[in-house]
Assembly symmetry: C2
Homo-oligomer: 338 residues x 2
């Protein structure tokens, strides 16, 4: 592997000069600059990052904390973030975390070991030590798609979006509306909160049987949730006519059970999801859902971190919170109550 000395020797100059050229510094004769540039081109020389990193005391690496079981929404988000970060000259290291205590601890240990320049959290974690470390070490950090007090955040208004989703159902004439959410993370609770509020504002009587909290936001748990709901309703006079699922994947599982029970969507029950994952528009029926501005979230997240790393803003000084607009996408899984 060709290094800076090789280039210097071949050019008959010193490594310092080559370094200056590589880093685009001033004070270098333009002829020599040309010559060195040509040599770099010819030899395919690339500065050794480890060496640079050592002297500069920066790793040029940012960590992204993301659930082990990340869904299509997060998948799209992180490749956008990765692309931007790369254009800023950073490496991206992924930290896949399962949400049990042990895995979070292990992840935190790795995080500490990596000498990162910054961290992006695509998902909340339970262990408070995580956030303590970030702030304690003064490590630049951004939370995205959720908000943790004291850290800059890029996200949509989950509560308002949920209200819109539920209001859509209400405007279609539905009154007996159920919800499946998860209790694990803030967004699940926020989405539930929006559900409550929409109901309250429409004077729809509240009843705790209207909502079921499951452990994960997956199709599998969507199935559990729906079975539970059906069980509760077994003794009711009339069945619910609409469902709000806290994620599209939950919705997919719920619809699966509904279909299996011979309950038609949207004929008998209307369903709205959240996230607008890829397949939402191909499903049968096409899923009505809340669409978050993926590209923009990814962009702003990468920018916010970059600014924090390079800028003179103290990491925990005035963390900006950017709230982005979402859209309700109406497809086929919701219909007027006949």
């Amino acid at each position: 592997m060709v290094n800076i000395k090789d280039i210097a020797r071949q050019a008959g100059m010193s490594p310092s000069t080559v370094s200056r050229v590589v880093n685009g510094k001033k004070h270098v004769n333009s002829e020599k600059r040309e010559q060195i540039l040509k040599l770099i081109e010819q030899t395919g020389y690339v500065p050794n990052k480890a060496a640079r990193s050592m002297v500069l005391k920066r790793s040029f690496t940012v960590g992204i904390v993301i659930p082990d079981t990340f869904n299509m929404f997060q998948r799209q988000l992180f490749s956008i973030i990765e692309r931007h970060l790369e254009s800023f000259g950073y490496h991206t290291l992924f930290f896949f975390v399962k949400f049990d205590d042990q895995s979070e601890e292990h992840c935190l240990a790795r995080l500490k070991a990596e000498h990162l320049d910054g961290v992006i959290m695509i998902h909340e974690v339970k262990n408070p030590l995580f956030y303590e470390y970030l702030s304690g070490a003064g490590l630049p950090a951004v939370t995205t798609t959720f908000h943790f007090p004291g850290l800059p955040a890029i996200h949509v208004n989950e509560e308002q979006a949920s209200k819109d989703a539920v209001n859509h159902l209400i405007s279609l004439g539905h009154r007996r509306i159920m919800m499946i959410s998860g209790d694990g993370f803030t967004f699940g609770r926020q989405r539930a909160e929006g559900f409550f509020q929409a109901l309250a504002e429409a004077d729809i009587s509240w009843n705790e049987n209207r909502i079921v909290f499951v452990r994960h936001y997956t199709p599998e748990f969507g199935m559990y949730g729906m079975r539970e709901l059906l069980l509760r309703e077994a003794k009711a006079a009339e069945r619910f006519t609409a469902l709000f699922a806290a994620t599209d994947e939950l919705a997919i599982g719920a619809i699966r059970v509904l279909e299996d029970e011979g309950i038609r969507v949207p004929g008998d029950v209307s369903v709205v999801g959240f996230d607008d994952i890829d397949i939402a528009k191909y499903m049968t029926p096409r899923l009505t859902t809340i669409c978050q501005p993926l590209t923009e979230i990814g962009e702003k997240t990468a920018q916010a971190l970059h600014r924090q790393i390079t800028g003179n803003h103290p990491a925990f000084g005035e963390p900006g919170e950017q709230i982005l607009p979402y859209k309700l996408v109406i497809r086929e899984s919701t219909r007027s109550r006949s």
Copy 2:
């Protein structure tokens, strides 16, 4: 950030001794070892990877080349690979590649710039320079879910799996079977080849109108493919009764069009996919498909690379090709021809 000298000073020993302890070498007094270990624990000392990497001339980083638009199957695969690689002490750097020439070139340039210890290709690329670089630089490399001559590979027998899928359709009494595949990559051609062979072996007359090649393996292109097939059949006396889609995502798009046209799956047309992505079992109808042994593929891929990096096998010596078993998973999207 505490470094090896700090530890040495506090322990009243030399950096070499600390280094020996950190790296678990012999020849160190067990009392001193204990003492150093305690100090490391207390201070939270972690060796600086950049420094290690520089003296060891290894980056401890492996690159994974994966499509920009990676699907759920690849998503699961890569988090398995990442986990194994991590347990071997490697960092994982992702190279998301779009399949146009420019993006591939950019990706190759980055690949060269990274001083990688090894490369895993989760997907074929078109640019031959990629493979030339890998072999030319003697860089350890493994291809997974496909095979490139001269490189170790972990994959299933695509052709045989496709034959099984089509034979399943044939055994259900279907004769007019169509296929949607892509022309971009080897696996698309191999899956098509299996389709041809199964047909030939069952003495089903061949006709080039039976297959359509689309540009990408996505639901969107599955829709294009199915529309094309329907168009071709518009003038035929009888319509086809079965479809083999080269990927589940293609199948999802195809089914979308079928449903929209009022053609029932599996009532009018049976469909079988390939990959068994997550949602396949939640769709309506649940998708019959070929299931690849994800976990095993991921495991063996990581192992194969690790062996190549550490072992004394020359990278291009005797590249092993490991062919793993697959399974046909029969669900609801296929049915006897009535």
